[in-house]
Amino acid sequence: MNCREAHSLFSAKLDGELSACGARDLELHVLRCDDCDARWKSMSLTVQLVRSIPAPLLDPGFVCQVMDRVRAHEIAERREKVLSARRVSPLTALASWAQSWRETFSLRPVLRPVPVAVVTALTFGLVTGYLAQDPLSDWTGAQARNDRLSARSAEFSDPGRAGDDASARGRTNASSPAGVGSVDSSLPETAGSEENTTPFADALAERERGFATGSIDSLVEPDASIEVLAPDWWSAEPRRSLIQQTRVQTF
């Protein structure tokens, strides 16, 4: 072992990192070399000096100060969490809702157009169906309701006229053997030859049976004005418009 090798082993020898064989070789060299002996003693004393430095004095309340800082940090952290939750609450809720929706209805990429196509088809069908709807499709029902309403109002407003009309109708039938009971010349003949001879009393009797049957000309009094009303489909207001007015021809 030369002096350079011995110098490189001083530190390991001080820390007990040398093997027994290496330590014995180093000790033998130091015993024979005065220069290495001096350096060894100098380094030993230097390390002893460094290790002898005492720890600095501590502040009396070091632990308390640390604990105060820890508590202050916890309070600040909690406050920051609350504030951040308040700041992003709507966005967070929206994002979580969207995420949950995606997770719930997640489809494979191939199937993703399917719900879009279904929704589009349903929307198209609803819109076109509404636009193509015939405003007069409810014609029959509206006509029957209007007829009944008109007949009832006429009956309750002038109940005595029914008998007069019956006697007058009898006279008319007498003067007119044909006994025509059709509604206008423009309206089609709805009654047969026997119905034409039926007096108006039959119509009244039919009305008393509760409007179970009967056509428009058998329920409406002569000379009555019939207003056929139908709903106004294209108006936002729930009003009705007069689409046809006719008059019952007297016998």
């Binding site: 100098s42 070091f62 604990m67």
Partner: protein, 215 residues
């Protein structure tokens, strides 16, 4: 009883005796569960060593107290990152060394208090360190003066040498622990320790050759 011992006694009374006998890893388990008493016991156990480590690094006692508090605060904040498989002291020393290094770099960047020693330190050349050209100390040199000179010599060491010498000779860590704390190979640790001691030996040679009786 000196002031240091009195301070330790007062502080120790505030720590729950249940936790004083527990090993570090068990204390950390309690701390992770939110026990402040366990954390106080941990701080009381390591405060002297951490303050000593940091003060040797930055050579500023008051600032070392603040940085040491920051070290413990970081430990509490990141307590869940601690892996029980590793040694707790190694993890703690890593945090302390990093914070001390940050402080040194901050001071160097500030350049408002860069002294000649710091400029020499920034060069990182151990060969430029020479023995103190001041008067040769007497044999009866006062112990406090010797300690101050040793502290000053430590502060003049380059950072890479100072950190290994502080961890080895001041904190008494093993070579393996120094490897883990500094994250450098074992061979590098050994060579740096050897060079750091050689540099210190040169700086303190007037005092050492003059002989010191009081140590």
């Amino acid at each position: 009883m000196n002031g240091f011992t009195q301070t330790n006694a007062i502080e120790t009374k505030r720590v729950a005796p249940v936790f004083t006998a527990l090993p570090d890893e068990s204390l950390m388990e309690h701390i992770v569960r939110g026990s402040e008493a366990a954390f106080a016991a941990l701080v009381d156990r390591y405060r002297a060593r951490i303050v000593n480590l940091v003060s040797r690094f930055i050579n500023d006692r008051d600032r070392a107290q603040e940085i040491s508090q920051e070290v413990f605060l970081r430990i509490f904040i990141h307590r869940e990152r601690y892996q029980p498989t590793g040694k707790f002291s190694t993890w703690m020393y890593t945090i302390a060394v990093n914070l001390a290094k940050n402080e040194i770099r901050r001071r160097v960047r500030a350049k408002d208090s860069v002294s000649l020693d710091k400029l020499v330190e920034m060069t990182g050349d151990a060969g430029r360190f020479t023995a103190d050209p001041g008067p040769r100390p007497d044999r009866g040199l006062h112990r406090r003066e010797v300690q101050e000179q040793v502290g000053a010599a430590l502060a003049r060491l380059p950072e890479r040498y100072r950190e290994v010498i502080i961890l080895r000779d001041v904190q008494q860590l093993s070579y393996e622990e120094i490897e883990k704390v500094l994250n450098i190979p074992g061979g590098t640790v050994r060579s740096r320790i050897n060079r750091a001691r050689t540099a210190l030996q040169e700086m303190l040679s007037p005092m050492v050759e003059g002989g010191i009786d009081e140590l």
